[in-house]
């Protein structure tokens, strides 16, 4: 377990690195930073390199601090992001997240990393305009590093280790940060009372919904509900699935001004995002439903998840009135952990 497995490379040119990656079946197809011992040591910052943070399926790779640091360097992460990446990998190892299933499924699921609290500003994450998009080193490289850990340590290469039929763009990098809002930070709502935290939610790409004209939160959330109430997502036939609702700050402010807390948003969507039981039955032969849903008559309106607590609300983005819903893969649960080195 302690063999650092150093490789000799002719030089540090992109061509030499590409050739090595291709020969070994490594990388995500984009240029990488050479993980020299000096850079990896900087990312480790004196931590015990052989400590195993998690064991990642399907390969059964030991995500040691060194392996995590190597992938952080490859992705271009500055060393100060290592604790965020280590915390995200710790979350990936949680049984409830079901990483084996996440990697094995034909669904396009990718782990979304959400950074909360003081770390957002302290480490330079973008929680504002374009928070899911390009242009910020912390968001881009942290998300990419998570994917490289999955490709290399977990062995989640398309084909032998990742069966996703089409994949999705967020399998390159999927990281955002929580905006400050009038509500307490998201991680406090799930019982993590730390200054900073990291959530990993294994889901689809964000599904946008917009409302540029409404002053009442119900009308805004009705659009979120309509984006949720589709039969095309795994959560439609798996009632235990979670939904992450990424409200933009302006939509969140409208909710707060009306006296709504996060839970009120979740309760409203639980009531409004519904389809008749009979329609579900016509669409699916296999329904992984809670018992109370199985007994419902065909004309009863059933929710898109079995309890309101499965609808998780956080705030991200900048000016404008676009928000999103992020359905899960279904057989996975999000994990929120305090940021820890």
């Amino acid at each position: 377990m302690t063999d650092p497995d150093l490789l000799e490379l002719a030089d540090e040119s992109p061509e030499a690195l590409y050739a090595l990656l291709e020969e070994r079946g490594w990388g995500d197809g984009l240029p990488v930073v050479a993980p020299t011992p000096e850079r990896v040591d900087a990312a480790l910052a004196g931590a015990h390199a052989d400590e195993v943070i998690a064991v990642l399926p399907p390969r059964g790779g030991a995500a040691t601090r060194r392996a995590i640091a190597v992938n952080a360097v490859l992705a271009g992460c500055p060393p100060e992001l290592t604790p965020v990446l280590v915390t995200a990998v710790r979350a990936l190892g949680h049984q409830r997240l079901n990483l084996r299933g996440v990697n094995a499924t034909t669904h396009p699921v990718a782990p979304l990393v959400i950074v909360h609290g003081d770390a957002v500003d302290d480490l330079g994450f973008n929680s504002g305009l374009g928070a899911f998009g390009p242009g910020n080193r912390a968001n881009a490289t942290l998300g990419r590093a998570v994917r490289l850990v999955l490709l290399h340590v977990a062995g989640a290469r398309p084909g032998p280790g990742d069966a996703s039929t089409q994949g999705q763009p967020s399998k390159y990098a999927y990281c955002t940060a929580e905006s400050r809002s009038e509500w307490p930070p998201y991680h406090h709502s799930v019982g993590v009372e730390a200054p900073s935290a990291v959530t990993v939610h294994c889901g689809e790409n964000p599904h946008n919904f917009h409302d540029m004209e409404s002053g009442d939160i119900e009308r805004i959330l009705d659009k979120a509900a309509s984006a949720m109430a589709t039969f095309g997502v795994n959560n439609a036939c798996i009632s235990g699935g979670e939904w992450f609702i990424g409200l933009c700050p302006e939509h969140a402010a409208t909710a707060h001004a009306a006296g709504w807390e996060r839970g009120d948003v979740a309760d409203y969507l639980f009531e409004r995002a519904r389809r008749p039981a009979g329609e579900f039955r016509r669409q699916f032969e296999l329904l992984s439903w809670a018992g109370w849903m199985r007994d419902a008559p065909d004309d009863e309106m059933l929710p898109m998840t079995q309890e309101a607590a499965n609808i998780r609300v956080f705030v991200t983005g900048g000016a404008g009135k676009h928000s999103c819903v992020i359905p899960s893969w279904g057989m996975t649960r999000s994990v929120t952990l305090p940021l820890a080195p």
Partner: protein, 105 residues
């Protein structure tokens, strides 16, 4: 001299894969012969998988002169997204030489 200069240009980098965990899964050894073997079917829970798997198992049994002796699901609350229970694995290990299963749609 040239060789020395070339050597000086090389760099060392860490491999990104890391070690395997001590208890990482290993492939089972290949059975020496299937002739007359006992075959099991492990339903992965996907639609129509059981129909396909049983047909395939029966076809294989006919070709090798074997028997389909066990057809099982993954255990209580098992589904396509979960692994099967240790009990199911232990039973199949004891009762059959070959298991047909699947993980896709």
């Amino acid at each position: 001299m040239f060789h020395d200069r070339l050597s000086a240009m090389t760099i060392r980098i860490h491999a990104p894969v890391g070690p395997l965990a001590d208890d990482s899964p290993q492939l089972a050894p290949v059975a020496p012969a299937l002739s007359g073997g006992r075959i099991g079917v492990l339903d992965n829970g996907k639609p129509n998988a059981l129909v396909l798997l049983i047909r395939a198992a029966e076809g294989l049994a006919e070709r090798i002169g074997g028997r389909v002796v066990a057809v099982t699901g993954k255990g209580p609350r098992g589904n396509a997204a979960t692994t099967c229970t240790p009990q199911v694995l232990a039973t199949l290990s004891k009762e059959v030489e070959l298991v047909l299963t699947g993980s896709a749609d």
